[in-house]
């Protein structure tokens, strides 16, 4: 193959693109697609939760719209082994279709007993609006992970629970897309939330935190409270 100078190569690439319109992306919202090989257009095993196992969330493709506001209730500041935690996510009916991928995972890549109510036990808000009453939530298990996905069919809430079985931090991640109804990735708003949930024994010495640390934490709390409203998420613990 003939060696070309970088500038020539760049120009040839540009010429190749001359007759081609810029990329138009498409929605990537159908659950089975995530597990398919990337060569076939799938996620290649990446569910885009934004968690440590995936790395990336939905924002690597969807972009351009206003970030949605999602309320998350029940996310604990500190974990206790054997305690069941109930999470509730909700979002307003703003005319957009919401989809999400969520997971909780520990440092070994295992999910902490994540469970979603059976369809019969789900609130109407968790189910599809079209077709009415159909399941919007699906869980996918693999390699110790449990990914919770919600299809863009008009649901506006998600309830789930988890139960830590080890005294170790957990990593929570959810990636939410608010679609503008066009079958492409442009014009969609994305919210990605990531939190490290500390174990009950994590971070403090045997004698407890120093008084100065408590003051710093209080100051951090005062600073953090207004900010966390600005990133499109309201977290209530």
């Amino acid at each position: 193959m003939t060696a070309l100078a970088p500038t020539t190569l760049t120009a040839l690439a540009a010429l190749t693109l001359v007759a081609a319109a810029p990329t138009v992306g498409h929605a990537f919202a159908e659950l089975p697609r995530y597990a398919e090989p990337a060569l076939d257009g799938g996620g290649g095993g990446r569910y885009f939760t934004g968690g440590p196992s995936d790395g990336f969330g939905c924002s690597v493709c969807h972009h351009g719209g206003a970030a949605p506001t999602v309320t998350i209730d029940g996310l604990p500041d500190q974990l206790a082994v054997g305690t069941r935690y109930d999470l509730a996510l909700s979002w307003p009916d703003d005319g957009r279709r919401y989809a999400l991928a969520l997971e909780l995972i520990d440092g070994q890549g295992q999910h902490p007993g994540v469970a979603v109510p059976a369809l019969a036990d789900q609130l109407p808000a968790m189910k599809c609006a079209e077709p009415a009453g159909a399941a919007a939530v699906t869980t996918v298990d693999g390699g110790g992970r449990r990914v919770v996905t919600l299809a863009p069919c008009g649901a506006h809430a998600l309830h789930l629970s988890f139960t830590p079985t080890a005294d170790a931090p957990l990593y929570f991640a959810v990636s939410v897309v608010a679609s503008d109804h066009h079958e492409d990735v442009r014009g969609d708003g994305v919210l990605e939330v990531r939190r490290t949930l500390n174990a009950s024994s994590g971070g403090c010495s045997a004698g407890g935190p120093a008084p100065g640390a408590l003051v710093a934490l209080a100051a951090l709390g005062l600073w953090w409270r207004p900010r966390r409203r600005r990133d499109g998420i309201a977290v209530r613990t």
Partner: protein, 160 residues
């Protein structure tokens, strides 16, 4: 009257100017390193599947305005009328190959080329990369990563 230039019409003058500048530049002994002659078959069979999976997202290297761009199914398509799920076209593969090959250029040798340094964790010899995720993890945490090793093998086999 409002102008309704197509994308091709907008890009054509720029591309021609770029080609002219490049042609002139090629004749100058400017000392730029040549683009390594990498194997297109190995690229198609082994490298491209990794790039489309790990790099080709629309907001990342699926963006055609990026110097290093990757086109294919389930990601950005080179042509707007290509179905999202259609297999990679010969044109997409050729453009992606060209862009990837340009990422093998380095004055310090191909082992220091952007394709091999950008996705790698800084702690293991990589450099800063916008694709580092929100947890601080690089695309490839270690040089020993099997996918990274495929890129390395292809790059090092390229002749200057």
């Amino acid at each position: 009257m409002q102008s309704t230039l197509t994308n091709a019409e907008r890009w054509l003058p720029r591309a021609l100017i770029a080609a002219l500048v490049a042609a002139v530049a090629c004749t100058l002994p400017d000392g730029n390193p040549a683009v390594p002659a990498a194997d297109p078959a190995v690229f198609r069979d082994e490298v491209y599947p990794i790039l489309i999976a790990d790099c080709g997202f629309n907001v990342c290297h699926g963006d055609p305005t990026r110097a290093f761009a990757v086109f294919g199914p389930g990601r950005g398509r080179l042509r707007a009328d290509t179905d999202l799920d259609a297999p990679v076209t010969a044109e997409e593969l050729a453009v992606t190959f060209t862009r990837a090959r340009s990422m093998l250029v380095s004055r310090d040798g191909v082992q220091h080329a952007p394709l091999l340094r950008k996705p790698l964790a800084i702690d293991d010899g990589g450099v800063r990369h916008g694709g580092t995720d929100a947890w601080g993890n690089a695309i490839y945490a270690k040089k020993t990563n099997a996918r990274f090793q495929v890129l390395v093998a292809w790059a090092l086999a390229a002749t200057p």
